[in-house]
Homo-oligomer: 429 residues x 2
């Protein structure tokens, strides 16, 4: 008796879609050894049927009409790799409505419409999986949903954007300027021609929204995420970080305590010994703290055709197993509570602050006194010798609230001796 | 309408059993929010009903008679945390035979009888899960079985024993001797009074057997694993490793190529930049290479009551989901092929070799010539100045086969100028 066949279609044949097709076609035998039924790629949608492709797909499998897929009752699983919200969300919605299981790598769509799409999949008794939407090949979503599910997750902290991690790594290791490394990254294809989504942290924010929703069991609106990119990071700060035993990473940070969720994406100083500190170049990693499991970290390739394809095909295979047992929807929606988002001024962190001050006695005293008045206590100070009329004054605080530090800084900036607040970078131990 | 209840019993209330009981009792509400049915601890077996415990269990829940659990048709899931093969295997076998799902953390039992028990669970339509048997709280088993299943796994490389990693970390960071650190670890409870199973690598070998079986889809007999412990590691080698840019870790290494599996546990030098190099103290980590996903690493707590409990309760919850959908056994047995084990003399690696030689001209030439004759090419040599009549000669080879290196060393040891082969440590890049 032959195995029953689970038919798969791919919407969109870009980098990620090609990886999925390649895996399903070239690793077919190995894949089907591992499941009781069989997955089979039957249809691929691409808007341009004539272009050169990395993967050899039989002509009769190609189509430029989505209805060839959505109206075909034989297709069980639709893989969406178009990206963006544009037509993708419409096609995914339609697929779920006609009771097709959906797998996607689309972080923007999942971040913005994840709850809605999960509900729709629930109503239609099909699966909506999105492992590849965060961390590429790193299996963080399934881990949070299944392997760590006995935990109350307290913290997720991720390097989830390869472009910015590549740029920061080069800035740290080679002493290069942000602008120069960005230009090099664009040349190598590690950064987009318009790099805004990566550099300014939007990409990381989408991923944090997804991670936090699952980790903390509550929807997290992307607009509620405090967002700072890396374009203002200066070599001076990297050098001071080294002196203080830190490295600077763009972190996506989610925490939960007392039913309140804190979500922020910003450059962060972390100690050299922190497991995330050694995550370099385009690699991604997600650090998780659970009340039972303690500290965990997942490390791997956060993007690319085959790593992302690996995550998507694993989702397809999981769905095939569910189909075999009529167990689709066995992982219920994660969005079971509606927790509050902590206002940014209430969060606590340590702060690295670099001021440009006039080099005269008493400046440190004035600055310290304003900090003291605002409940900000100082852990360390670096004051370098005279360079010019002004000198940098670098301080690292103990744990304080964002509100207190901002109030203090407002006052400090008004001091005559203080010429500039050059940098403020949060520190996580 | 109430949720249907999945009844759970624990066999054995040691460190791990207590963690499971604690999680099931104290985190019950949070756990049951995440599944459609409900898991409930109903019975706990302990041989001593009177001793003090870390967790408060109602007296009526306790029993010292396993039949109270195995003969109770209401119990759906049995958690085995007795450890060892002794009575554990008998009880697990009986549980599976009466169609109870089983979750275990028992690496020895799974390594020795995993295939047999998986088959038995298959025959009886129940699940046999063992996430906690490797890496404690690190979800490596489910990842290999589900998240990375689209890959042909090429390599698993793990720091899977906390005791030896603690000892090596102290030796590296504090320059302490093996014997002294071991004594300290025993005092702190990080090492057993009889430390053989950890120190000599048996514990790591059990875990490698399980990891490799799942990663490569073929049973791996523990007796086929090449085994070397850490008791011969000397400070001299740690110092030379530093000079060469390496750290020494006890690694459990599994590789597959051309249908042949290579499995070995031994002290290994890895480059400082390798993700495993930063895994210190009692932390564990598993590094995986898949043909699609590339390099991945999982890092976390490899032991302890709550981390191990976290993995076990996640397995219980997964089984609860399966029960809800009558989908037990949806992850089929991993043992679907019978691959050959590569003989140790056929493996290739780089080798660090420390010889004690008489300090006279021509020694390096004699040694090099024997290496050359045996296809062993040298990557680097360190020859230190005179200390005594004899001096250490340190060599690192390029990739060579174990057979060639052993043949060469046999000849080299016979040279008059060579007083001793002090160390041989394999190097992985």
């Amino acid at each position: 008796m032959g195995k029953s066949v689970v038919k798969v279609a791919i919407l969109g044949l870009g980098t990620v879609g090609s990886g999925v097709a390649k895996l399903l076609l070239e690793n077919n035998q190995n894949i089907n050894q591992k499941i009781d039924n069989e997955v089979k790629l039957v249809k691929v949608l691409d808007k341009d049927l004539t272009r050169e492709r990395e993967v050899d797909i039989p002509a009769e499998m190609m189509t430029d009409n989505p209805e060839d897929i959505l109206s075909n009752p034989e297709i069980d699983v639709v893989v969406e790799t178009i990206g963006g919200v544009g037509p993708a969300k419409e096609l995914v919605t339609e697929a779920l409505e006609v009771k097709k299981n959906v797998v996607t790598a689309n972080k923007e769509m999942v971040a913005k419409y994840g709850s809605e799409l999960l509900e729709l999949s629930d109503e239609n008794g099909v699966d909506f999986y999105f492992e590849a939407s965060v961390g590429g090949g790193i299996p963080i979503i399934r881990s949070l949903k299944e392997s760590l599910t006995a935990n109350r997750i307290q913290e997720v902290m991720g390097i989830v954007n390869g472009t910015t991690n590549y740029i920061l790594t080069k800035m740290i290791q080679e002493g290069a300027k942000f602008e120069d490394v960005l230009a090099e990254a664009q040349q190598k294809g590690y950064a987009e021609p318009d790099p805004t989504a990566d550099i300014e942290g939007y990409d990381a924010a989408y991923k944090l929204s997804i991670l936090s929703a699952i980790a903390f069991g509550s929807p997290v609106d992307v607009d509620d995420i405090h967002l700072e990119g890396i374009s203002d990071i200066k070599q001076e700060d990297i050098t001071y970080a080294k002196e203080l035993g830190y490295v600077i990473k763009l972190l996506a940070i989610g925490k939960e305590a007392d039913g309140e969720i804190e979500v922020r994406v910003h450059p962060t100083m972390i100690p050299n010994e922190h497991p995330l500190a050694a995550v370099n170049n385009v690699f991604n990693a997600v650090f998780v703290k659970g009340h039972a499991v303690g500290e965990l970290m997942y490390y791997g390739r956060g993007a690319g055709s085959m790593p992302t394809g690996s995550a998507i095909v694993a989702d397809v295979m999981d769905i095939a197993r569910n189909i075999n047992y009529r167990a689709n929807n066995r992982i219920s929606c994660s969005c079971y509570e509606d927790k509050d988002i902590k206002p940014m001024f209430d969060i606590t962190a340590k702060y690295y602050i670099r001021l440009e001050v006039i080099d005269e006695p008493g400046v440190l005293a004035s600055v310290s006194s304003i900090f003291g008045k605002n409940n900000v206590s100082i852990e360390s100070v670096i004051q370098k010798g005279k360079i010019d009329k002004t000198v940098p004054l670098v301080l690292v605080t103990h744990q304080v609230t964002e509100g207190d530090i901002q109030t203090a800084l407002k006052e400090i900036k008004e001091l005559d001796e203080v010429k500039e607040l050059s940098s403020l970078i949060r520190v996580e131990d």
